[in-house]
Symmetry: C2
Subunit: 599 residues, 2 copies
């Protein structure tokens, strides 16, 4: 509830905190925190995406960064009032640093800071031309031989990458590259986005026919231009493809289609990349200062190497290459894997009269879409949330404000509830032989996504087909492939005209290995994962998604990606980091973690 008394307390604490920081008195600042405390910073203090945990880490960060940051003006954000709930006071806050304006969220227990989120809104003197600051468009007054908007756009398209070099090259024109491209455009950072397909959106269009987003519309908005109110909850892939295509045009991106990146090499001396690209048959050499790989955190297929794959006489392909069911009517399909793609593909095959067997190799986390929407996302991303005044921007910041170290504690009760709500459903799945999993600590889907980016299916119908026995189920690893079947480790033989390897994707730094070299890929290390020491997310703890949206151990190399939510939200911070570098604003980076895993 809104709470004027709490508001005064928060204001007093922020005043004290601000005064301590302005005085450079770190001990005094630390006294504003309780012992159990977290500070997540999105590039305001650390020029990094970084959570410092506990007073010692906060002290270390401040010792390193406070002098250059010069924070000031801490206050409850304009138009906001603190709220209290269960002994925790929460407030939206505003502040400034030497370089930027910041926005954040603070949670206070017993008069001391428990969690603090600080995020950069804008760089001073480099505000985006939006709202009151939007461009005029028409050029009022007279000027001889003024080019029109169209002529200026055409000239830019002609020159950029040829007679004039972009500051940033983004490899990959999916949702990640597009969202980042839009923000950089707004910030006036000359950027080229490279996309291998014919049209923006093709990376969605080319996937299996039945694919729809598994995340709901409220979670999926791109920056600046939210979906209209008639947009479907779960958009079909081709519709999202069309949206991305129009967005790319409306946002005036320099978006090169039919273009593949062949190689990239960094010159440490000049601080410049040499990026060789094939643009629709023409070789073009680009020389940007910054290179962003936005090739998809699920972009590099993991194709397994099973004995006998070469002798298989039917069709076999990775799920990312699966064309849909049309060609397989009346045939027998074996789908290796039991996560999202496997379920979607099995259901679509079955609906088109294909005999389908799913091979479950390890337990899988299942949540029903409706239940997930209601219990898992409803408070932040739903029509109800929108009607009660929740904006995408606020939802993203609230989402970002829970430290990853303790996020699972908030998640576990939600999944306990889902398990209860859908008890019959889960019983049915288990009865059908499906092996269920809720994450190592029962924290469910979102933690799995953050930790390993795999291991789940958001059920939109395939589960019932498994419960009913229509999609057949087999278990275990694959021993070998024969001319016309899949043989499992226990000897089970599954006759097959089609094998789909729904076996997931590798780490994004694999792209760095392909384009730049193994040395750079290894220097940078694995992308994604928190170091939670759970399945497929080995420790040590790093507390943030490895290498994503922030400086890496390779100067000038950045990774951008994730789902639409992450592409939207984290593109804000990556774009500000790039803009600051272009403008020569000092960006002292705090705490790039050691590389622990090669990918």
């Amino acid at each position: 509830m809104l709470d004027i008394v709490a508001n005064d307390q928060v204001t007093a604490l922020l005043d004290e905190f601000g005064a301590a920081l302005e005085a450079g008195d770190i001990d005094r600042a630390l006294a504003c925190f309780q012992n159990d405390c977290y500070w997540r910073d999105l590039v305001t203090f650390t020029w990094n995406i970084r959570t410092v945990e506990g007073k010692d880490e906060i002290a270390d960060m401040l010792r390193s960064q406070l002098g250059a940051t010069r924070p000031r003006g801490w206050r409850v954000a304009e138009g906001e009032v603190a709220t209290t709930d269960g002994g925790v006071a929460t407030a939206w806050i505003e502040f400034e640093t030497e370089a930027a304006r910041g926005y954040g969220l603070v949670r206070i227990k017993n008069g001391r800071i428990w969690t603090l989120l600080t995020s950069m809104s804008e760089l001073k003197g480099h505000e985006e031309p939006l709202g009151f600051g939007r461009p005029l468009g028409a050029k009022h007054g007279a000027g001889r031989n003024r080019p029109s908007w169209k002529e200026e756009r055409e000239a830019e398209a002609r020159e950029l990458g040829y007679t004039r070099q972009p500051y940033v090259v983004i490899v990959g024109g999916g949702q990640g590259g597009i969202a980042l491209g839009a923000r950089l455009r707004q910030l006036g950072v000359p950027t080229i986005v490279l996309e291998k397909n014919d049209r923006a959106g093709d990376s969605w269009r080319k996937r299996y026919k039945s694919l729809c987003l598994h995340d709901p519309v409220w979670y999926d908005n791109l920056p600046y231009l939210p979906f209209p109110p008639n947009w479907p909850v779960f958009a079909p892939k081709d519709k999202i493809g069309d949206w991305l295509e129009m967005y790319t045009k409306v946002m005036e991106l320099n978006y090169w289609t039919r273009t593949t990146c062949k190689s990239a090499r960094y010159d440490e001396a000049t601080g410049e990349w040499t990026v060789v690209v094939d643009r629709d048959g023409e070789q073009v050499v680009l020389r940007p200062k910054q290179l962003v790989l936005a090739t998809g955190m699920s972009g590099k297929p993991n194709l397994p190497r099973f004995p006998g794959m070469d002798r298989f006489k039917g069709d076999q392909h990775h799920s990312s290459q699966h064309p849909g069911p049309d060609a397989y009517r009346g045939k027998r399909a074996v789908v290796i894997g039991s996560n999202n793609s496997a379920h979607d593909i099995c259901a679509a095959l079955l609906e088109n009269d294909v005999d389908v067997t799913m091979v479950q190799r390890s337990p899988t986390h299942i949540v029903r879409s409706d239940t997930l929407m209601e219990v898992g996302l409803g408070a932040l991303y739903s029509e109800k949330a929108v009607r009660s005044g929740m904006t995408t921007e606020k939802a993203d910041l609230i989402f970002a404000s829970l430290p990853y170290r303790i996020l699972h504690e908030f998640q576990i009760p939600l999944y306990d509830r889902m398990r209860e709500i859908d008890a019959d459903f889960y019983a049915g799945l288990e009865k059908a032989g499906f092996r269920l999993d809720w994450g190592d600590d029962g924290s469910g889907l979102f933690m799995k996504y953050l930790r390993r980016g795999s291991g789940y299916y958001i059920d939109v119908g395939a589960c019932q087909l498994i419960i009913d026995g229509q999609i057949k189920l087999a278990h275990g690893n694959v021993r070998e492939i024969t001319e016309d079947s899949v043989i499992l480790e226990d000897g089970t033989e599954l006759p097959a005209d089609l094998i789909v390897y729904a076996t997931g994707y590798g780490s994004m730094n694999g792209w760095a290995a392909d384009l730049i070299g193994r040395d750079v890929a290894d220097k940078v290390g694995k992308c994604w994962g928190l170091g939670s020491d759970t399945t497929k997310d080995p420790g040590p703890w790093v507390g943030e998604q490895r290498n994503m949206w922030k400086p890496t151990k390779q100067e000038g190399l950045w990774f951008h990606g994730g789902n639409l939510h992450q592409s939207r939200h984290y593109s804000q911070f990556l774009s500000l980091q790039l803009k600051a570098r272009m403008e020569g604003i000092p960006t002292p980076v705090y705490g790039i973690p050691e590389t622990h895993h090669l990918g």
Copy 2:
């Protein structure tokens, strides 16, 4: 200011008004109005767009319509509180009729209704799938051989107009046809939009190079998908073209490009049109129930017939055909006319080193863009209005709520103020010989637009070029054209390599004459204008834009158009009228005026 006491008074008055209407007691309902009163109805009571003025007209309308309308549930709208200002209480209201839900605005003086706006929000049982009702998109659960979204769209594109007939055909795919098409799509009314150009948006792209919108972005939003916050205040024509193209796709219109309507004939017996179209070389015969002409209220060029035009050796064309200045560098141009297009074209020619003379044939109303934005539109359509909570929907309704009979009284003081603010500017223009005009009654631009759709220029820079003498000025009507000059009535000869006829546009019913026949065009009569008995808007008074967005004297024939604001707002009411007819909902129309002018 918000006013709880006023709110109680409004509620009491609405209760009384509602009770009187439910009792069918027209005298008692009339007692709720003051003598000086206006009721503007947007299709809830009248199935028409109609203002009844004074108690006698209100009584006549109620006697005709009350029985079928069965209004009820009058109340101050949810979440709203009445406000008072200068003795007038204003409140947003909600109500229902037998068929629909309504929203409106009431103004009360001395406890009695002064102005009442009633507008239809939605038809009961035919609500748009928006927000909570948006489509799911993904098809959860399993179904054999289910088509994907893309396959369904492709099937629709294949079938509609061939094996399945549209209910509505819209001739003209500019902003009007597109906005209406989007609303009809939302309402599930099968519709084909016919567009002669290659791409949606070409009607903007093909105009002169320097063209930008003269109305600001806040005034120009299309339904469902407002412009993003980085959209320019005055969008360049090609950018608007791109937006319309993407909107058409995102909104899933059945939009036939490279298609011209050759003829249309209505069969009164079957209530069906036979519309012959050329679709990219193929003749297709469409049989819709409803035909909408959305060919542009400024769509049918008025090309004057001056003696000697046939012997002119240079280039001559109507302003709508003007390609821009590039080919005329170093040449001499004469532009006949002194309204928006004339000014834009003169400025662009001058900026490209063309020798330009503007021929002013009659006084012209000039307002500076900045001043117009500030004084004329700022309260409803501006960044400031948005920040203070004004939505496009509310702004449109407030705009619609001032009866046209008295609108000039509200406008005159605004233009008096503009004249004062820009006194030096106007003095400069007059000194340069430019003849100024403020409308017959000094009510300025918007009334001119409503009355005659012409006679003004919103200054974005050309005026200074006239003040400075860079754009030369001549006066009077054209006597004749020679091989290489324009001769005015006073004998002045203006040498010319290029003549641009910026001579405006004819009435939209001219399109009906071309496509359907002169008899139908004459039966329907002139479109646009209020009958204000001012210049180019002959009486008698009809009180609404003639024939626009409402039933005409030709069954099944409708006119839609206007600027982006009108295309957006009135498409709501036209689409509801068409939907109601498709669903067989009774739509007793009140008060189609007599035809007074042939066009």
